[in-house]
């Protein structure tokens, strides 16, 4: 494949973020998504054509201008939309970044064609491939998070997934399995499961059970991050001329988020799920 021909469709860039993965991050919002989640607060990114079309190296060059702010934990985050929609671009920019010892966080719903996802896994993690070999020589010098790929994969319980156009649980599970297999092979890949807490939909015991059931199937260490539903996305749907299904639903507040967190934590404890290394609530902007 001719790498030069790969171009990314970019919606926007946020040079400073503390909520899109570990540490301070510069985020690439890539256009397009396979899904149309009712709670989506970036529907403009999902639907809109790109504001900018650029090659991976070019984009990375720009993002690297912010590297002095990343510290030991931060780096770049590929978000969107969903980076798996532009899987070739994602693969290429990730390879380039990892090759330079940059931490890459990929924020995804893990929904994509299984064979292309496996292809991505293979490309990124061929034994002796980039993430292991490129950094082997540096290993002792660089902070643990550098040159790592950090997968942030959101999970939707059935009650919500059924209302999400494009969502397919089997597809998600197959891709998650492929990812876990890779994580076992490399120390430089890690996983965070994300879960959006929506009042009346995903904050009840049933949904919690389903989440914990999923967690129990993950047999590598990982983090869980709980995101509050935020209602500010509503305006963006209106701007796109779309009907907002969650109309009138208020944002999940910190207290409600913590309640759900306690529920999950209790179950994780009860079931002795030692692979869950952290359960983190995310504080969102108001």
């Amino acid at each position: 494949m001719d790498n030069k021909s790969i171009k990314g469709k970019i919606h926007s860039i946020e040079s400073f973020s503390t909520i899109d993965g570990p540490g301070i991050r510069s985020v690439l919002f890539m256009s397009g998504c396979f899904l149309k989640c009712p709670f989506c607060h970036n529907i403009d990114v999902v639907l809109n054509p790109a504001n900018q079309v650029s090659e991976p190296a070019e984009i990375l060059q720009y993002l690297k201008k912010f590297s002095d702010y990343w510290g030991d934990d931060g780096g770049i985050t590929l978000s969107g939309g969903d980076p798996l929609v532009q899987i070739e671009f994602t693969q290429e920019i990730t390879k380039l970044a990892i090759g330079e010892g940059i931490n890459v966080t990929i924020d995804t719903a893990l929904i994509s064609d299984e064979s292309s996802f496996r292809y991505l896994m293979d490309a990124l993690y061929t034994p002796g491939g980039i993430s292991d070999s490129t950094l082997r020589g540096l290993e002792s010098d660089i902070p643990a998070n550098r040159g790592k790929i950090f997968w942030m994969s959101s999970f939707k319980p059935h009650i919500f997934a059924k209302d999400t156009p494009g969502y397919n649980l089997d597809n998600f599970l197959a891709n998650l399995r492929a990812l876990i297999d890779r994580i076992r092979l490399s120390e430089r890949v890690s996983l965070r499961i994300r879960y959006v807490v929506i009042k009346g939909f995903t904050d009840n015991l049933e949904a919690c059970n389903e989440l914990v059931e999923l967690l129990s199937q993950i047999d590598v260490p990982f983090e869980l991050e709980l995101l509050p539903y935020v209602s500010w996305g509503e305006k963006k749907w209106a701007d796109q001329g779309l009907e907002y299904l969650l109309k009138g639903l208020s944002s999940t507040n910190h207290e409600e988020l913590m309640q759900f967190r306690n529920m999950v934590e209790q179950q994780v404890k009860d079931r002795n799920l030692s692979n869950v290394t952290k359960i983190m609530p995310l504080i969102q902007n108001k």
């Binding site: 926007s12 860039i13 946020e14 040079s15 400073f16 973020s17 503390t18 909520i19 301070i24 510069s26 985020v27 607060h41 970036n42 720009y62 201008k65 912010f66 002095d68 702010y69 510290g71 931060g74 500010w232 996305g233 963006k236 609530p281 995310l282 504080i283 969102q284 902007n285 108001k286």
Partner: protein, 802 residues
């Protein structure tokens, strides 16, 4: 007379020594300090370097406010509230202020630790007509006071003022550029300020020693009476008189400052007296305090060790001192508020930094001063300025960040880059102006309107219209506010200004040869006009400072300088981001001027997109850098008064609103009258790629070209920094390390708050009596800003993300 120690007990009731104070009764205290050059010569830096103790620990040692402090602050807060409602609390119209003009004043005599007020009552303002009597009259009148005819007579018939001096020597050219807002905000009718006395000298040496040093100087200087020597002799004579007056003033409060301070409480009191004397004599724009943290820390350490005071008492003294700094006031006319909103004094104090020997200069006392925000709540003054450096202790960096997140009342400046110019004993005057304490001073020069300069270039030396042709007829224009008056024949003059076409510079052609503006043509003509503006600007400043020296000399402040000082001529520009974006638009998009019937461009049509300053895009950021280089180069072509050296600031204070109001449409797409971005900030909303990209663009402006400071005001929503105060402060430290250490930027105002909070404060000011925000190099009470200024602050980019 009584010895000063027993006097202290009488005045400051609650600061009783924890041990017998005998050993402090006398002058032998200095013997406990490490000896050095500072004893042979006036050399405060040497004293500090020999004696201070760097502190690496955290903030857990700090003491809370005492009941006394709370009570006193409550009383002062009540007075400030009353002042806000009335405009000013009180004014003494009869007594032109001097060091000794007013009898001692107190807030609550029994409960004050550090004493001294500018007049005989707290927040009662005084008049200082030497700057200009008309301004004093106008200011008084605007608050419902009348200056007695006898006072007016003195300053019109018998004694010339600075203001009259300047206008008797201004050239037509200067007046023209001034009235068309090309150079504005000049200190030609108010005190120039921005001079920092090394007030620590009073504490370390006392007046006797300082007077003796000056007398020695006089006896040894050349006895040839050249113009320069005559002036020097007169100035030194006045400085000696000022020192004698300070001694007199202190005596009225029961203190003998002819001798050095013998303990920390005296050291603080002596510094305050010295600073107070400057404020009784002058009302300059920016009366800054300098750098007293490590100096005072030496005294505090000694008193702690000796058991004279404990931590609670030391904090109480500092809280009391800071209360005094919070109520320094000057009489300002309403239009002054357009330039410098919120009644600022710029009691700028710098903290921390790293010594040239590499030792950290953060002391416990730096913590104590930042802690006053917690003990007293936020306030605009003093203007807390942290000197940021790579090697500062991690604990200190984190504490500063925490206080910023809590109070939005701190600014940060890059010690690593300033140290190269000023060593490790410098202060900041006003917002961003560095100078060696006691060794350097500056001639404040406000700023030139760079956006107007560009428009003059495009319009062939003629003024741009403020209104479009179709809006001109029948509209009574009220765009000019700096000069304020709307006299009878003003209306037509203003209308003429509104349609533009008035010739400012002869011999230039408008750039209307082609449909679209050509970058090279615009750039060349811009440089040509810039050179002309620079010439007139330096001429104006030379005139102003000649007259200020002559009619309104700062003998109190200069008494705390070396006799021979180095002088900076501090020039400035407004509208940097507008000009950079305009040139970028001309270069990377297509810009078509819309010419009106008077042959000047009333609007610009932009075809296509262009790179905008504030997105870390070198294509436009390099234009901004080039502009700064050209400005300082142009300024330095013209000789400056008293061998001063030209410097340049990119700082607007709050005048970005009023400058914008007086500037027509610009080729970047900005409409006529729209406020500029403050200082070196990117234009509101154009920094589309987030905080770091925006910071990186500003960081590219080299300090080398803009040695008088590059101001950047940064507002971030708390949760954007992280979930909890620990994460937030860690991330704010990382941001500042990236900005200052990795990218070598100069200045950052940090606001951590939400736009919603400001909107609510605008609606319900009574809910936020102490809401303080950083604007452009200083902090203001949000409630003191005018509606239009509040709107501009609210419109600024808040770094957040949806």
């Amino acid at each position: 007379m009584q010895n000063s120690y027993s006097n202290n007990q009488m005045v400051g009731g609650s600061i009783a020594p924890t041990t017998n104070g005998n050993s402090f009764d006398g002058h032998d205290n200095t013997q406990k300090f490490k000896t050095g050059l500072w004893q042979e010569d006036i050399d405060v830096r040497d004293f500090i370097q020999k004696n201070y103790t760097p502190y690496e620990g955290d903030e857990t040692f700090l003491a809370p406010a005492t009941d006394r402090t709370k009570k006193l602050w409550e009383k002062v807060s009540g007075l400030i509230k009353e002042e806000l409602e009335k405009g000013i609390l009180d004014l003494d119209v009869n007594t032109p202020s001097s060091i000794t003009s007013h009898a001692p004043g107190y807030i609550d005599r029994e409960n004050e630790i550090i004493v001294g007020l500018q007049t005989d009552a707290p927040l009662k303002r005084s008049i200082k007509p030497n700057g200009g009597i008309r301004l004093v009259e106008k200011a008084a009148e605007s608050y419902g006071y009348t200056i007695p005819q006898e006072v007016i007579d003195i300053f019109t018939k018998h004694r010339k003022t600075h203001n009259d001096g300047v206008f008797s020597a201004y050239t037509d050219e200067i007046k023209l550029l001034r009235s068309h807002h090309v150079i504005t905000g000049l200190p030609d009718n108010y005190g120039r300020g921005r001079i920092i006395g090394d007030y620590r000298r009073l504490a370390l040496y006392g007046t006797s020693r300082l007077i003796e040093q000056r007398k020695n100087y006089l006896s040894q200087m050349s006895n040839t009476q050249s113009e320069e020597n005559i002036r020097a002799r007169e100035e030194i004579f006045e400085q000696i008189e000022a020192l004698q007056d300070i001694e007199k003033m202190a005596k009225e409060y029961g203190y003998d400052v002819s001798r050095p301070a013998t303990n920390s409480k005296e050291a603080l009191q002596w510094i305050y007296f010295a600073y107070l004397s400057a404020n009784k004599q002058q009302d300059g724009a920016a009366m800054s305090l300098g750098r007293i943290d490590a100096f005072l820390d030496i005294y505090f350490n000694q008193d702690l060790e000796n058991g004279l005071f404990d931590e609670a008492q030391i904090q109480e003294m500092i809280d009391d001192f800071v209360i005094k700094l919070r109520i320094i006031r000057h009489l300002r006319p309403p239009e002054y508020n357009e330039l410098f909103a919120g009644d600022p004094i710029w009691v700028t104090m710098v903290f921390g930094g790293i010594g040239i020997d590499g030792r950290n200069m953060v002391t416990k006392t730096a913590y104590r001063f930042l802690h006053t925000l917690s003990n007293l709540g936020p306030a605009p003054e003093p203007n807390l300025t942290v000197l940021w450096a790579d090697l500062l202790p991690a604990n200190w960096k984190k504490y500063c960040a925490k206080q910023s997140i809590r109070f939005s009342s701190i600014q940060y400046e890059n010690d690593d880059i300033m140290k190269e110019y000023y060593g490790d004993d410098y202060g900041i005057a006003c917002c961003v102006s560095g100078m060696k304490l006691g060794k350097e001073m500056q001639f404040f020069g406000a700023r030139a309107n760079l956006a107007k300069t560009l428009l003059l270039a495009i319009n062939g030396g003629k003024t741009e219209p403020m209104l479009k042709s179709n809006a001109l007829s029948g509209v009574s224009y009220s765009g000019s506010i700096i000069n304020g008056q709307q006299g009878d024949n003003k209306a037509s003059e203003e209308e003429e200004k509104a349609r533009g076409g008035i010739t400012i510079f002869e011999g230039l052609k408008p750039l209307n040869q082609s449909e679209y503006l050509q970058y090279d043509q615009v750039w060349d003509q811009f440089l040509l006009v810039l050179d002309k503006v620079a010439k007139v600007y330096v001429d104006a400043l030379n005139t102003i400072h000649y007259m200020h020296d002559k009619y309104h000399y700062e003998s109190a402040e200069m008494a705390f300088h070396d006799v021979d000082v180095k002088r900076w001529l501090a020039c400035g520009i407004a509208g940097l981001s507008i000009v950079a974006d305009s040139l970028s638009a001309i270069k990377y998009a297509k810009v078509k001027p819309v010419w009106n019937e008077f042959g000047v461009a009333e609007d610009y049509i932009i075809e296509g997109d262009y790179p905008k300053y504030g997105n870390d895009d070198d294509r436009v950021d390099e234009i901004a850098v080039e502009i700064c280089k050209e400005v300082i180069t142009a300024l330095r072509r013209y000789e400056a008064y008293r061998d001063s050296i030209h410097t340049l600031s990119v700082l607007t204070i709050t005048s970005n609103v009023v400058y914008g109001k007086a500037t027509g449409a610009t080729p970047d797409g900005r409409d006529a009258g729209v406020p500029f971005a403050p200082g070196a900030n990117p234009m509101h909303g154009r920094d589309a790629n987030g905080a770091v990209a925006s910071l990186n663009s500003v960081a590219k402006i080299p300090y080398k070209y803009c040695q008088d400071g590059i101001s950047n005001t940064f507002s971030v929503v708390p949760t954007t920094l992280g979930a909890d105060i620990e994460t937030q402060s860690q991330n704010l430290v990382a941001l500042m390390d990236g900005y200052f250490v990795a990218h070598g930027a100069h200045h950052l105002n940090v606001n951590v708050l939400t736009r919603e909070l400001l909107l609510d404060a605008q609606q319900s000011p009574e809910k936020y009596p102490q809401l303080t925000i950083r604007v452009s190099g200083y902090a203001v009470l949000f409630n003191r800003l005018s509606k239009i200024q509040q709107d501009e602050v609210i419109a600024r980019t808040f770094h957040t993300r949806l």
